[in-house]
């Protein structure tokens, strides 16, 4: 199998380059991460992140044949050769396929991704009805891999000001939570021409999400809540 991998070591290279690799491997049931692990046996300088290797931790997000995805759940058989692997776009490259996610997490933290409830904590859990709990489906599953946000042109142009699809999906996860008491503050925090309204429904986020979530729909629901509050 043929691979073309983005290589960049800022300590040694003056500019990034693409390196070709050949691997004696039948696609079968193997995932891209398996191939990367084998390639690293050939050349142990290839840098990439991985952890759970089953699509739960979100560490091995990368740009695979021009499309963001998780290497560990991308079957090799689904990829056209040569398989071109690049780091996630729009973020600074630390080395090879490893990017600096600081900006991504800064935006995530800016939406206060935790339950805000000023009532004294009850003896047991804060209970929800099954219907209220169902509101969180399609939101809580986000693993913060960064595939959606780094596929978003609005984030490429304004990574310091636009929250990005992942952050906005998480923001709606807490707006939709009946146990949360900070709805007004959360909406105030997002109502901004940059933070929320940079989203132009390009929907790259929906296209690439490895967990098949729909950030555009969540962003639409945030806008609906804002409209409801003024009309």
């Amino acid at each position: 199998m043929k691979f073309r991998i983005y290589r960049y070591n800022p300590e040694a290279d003056t500019a990034p380059y693409m390196q070709d690799f050949d691997l004696d491997l039948q696609a079968g049931d193997a995932m891209l991460l398996d191939a990367l692990m084998l390639l690293r046996q050939q050349d142990d300088s290839i840098g990439f992140r991985k952890s759970c290797r089953e699509g739960v931790c979100g560490s091995d997000a990368m740009n695979i044949n021009g499309r963001n995805g998780l290497a560990c759940i991308t079957p090799l058989s689904s990829l056209k050769q040569p398989i071109e692997i690049r780091p996630l776009p729009g973020l600074p490259v630390i080395r090879d396929l490893i990017v600096d996610m600081a900006q991504f997490f800064k935006q995530y933290h800016s939406i206060k991704p935790y339950l805000i409830n000023n009532d004294p904590p009850p003896e047991t859990e804060r209970l929800q009805s099954p219907k209220d709990r169902a509101e969180l489906d399609g939101l809580y599953e986000c693993i913060l891999c960064g595939c959606c946000t780094t596929a978003c042109p609005s984030f490429w142009w304004n990574p310091d000001k636009f929250v990005g699809p992942s952050g906005l999906l998480q923001a709606y996860r807490f707006l939709a939570d009946t146990r949360d008491q900070a709805t007004a503050e959360r909406l105030d925090n997002l109502e901004d021409p940059y933070r929320l309204f940079r989203c132009h429904s390009i929907m790259n986020c929906v296209d690439v999400c490895p967990k098949e979530l729909n950030p555009t729909e969540a962003i639409g629901k945030i806008k609906d809540m804002m409209v409801k509050r003024v009309v």
Binding site: N158, D160, D188, N189, E191, D192, Y194, R195, L196, K223
Partner: protein, 115 residues
């Protein structure tokens, strides 16, 4: 002045809503015009003058053009916000776009009522 990333302007919803409403107005106008063009067999200068001599058509046309200009303002502002980074040049670009669109508004009224 310290160079910090500042956000939190607390507006944007009304612009987003207006962009949608103006899009509906534009779509309606285009449907009406398309309908008239299809309905009229021969569409010469006389029918054109006849159509635009009524105040209803003139007002509807002005409403359409105002929608185009407001829609364009939000679109242009978004483009400038994305691509023009220095705040001074961004403000200048906004002012120029607004002035141009105001000029087009006056010009449109002159054309519509000057037919």
């Amino acid at each position: 002045m310290v160079n910090r990333i500042v956000t939190g302007a607390h507006f944007g919803l009304s612009d987003w809503l207006i962009q949608r409403v103006t899009a509906v107005v534009m779509a309606l106008y285009l449907l009406v015009i398309a309908g008239l063009l299809l309905w009229q067999r021969s569409f010469g200068y006389d029918t054109w003058i006849d159509l635009f001599s009524g105040n209803i058509m003139r007002t509807f046309s002005l409403l359409f053009l105002l929608s185009v200009f407001y829609h364009a303002w939000i679109g242009m502002r978004d483009i400038v916000m994305d691509y023009v980074k220095p705040a001074g040049i961004r403000l200048l670009s906004h002012v120029l776009v607004i002035l141009a669109l105001l000029l087009y508004t006056i010009w449109s009224a002159q054309i519509l009522w000057g037919l």
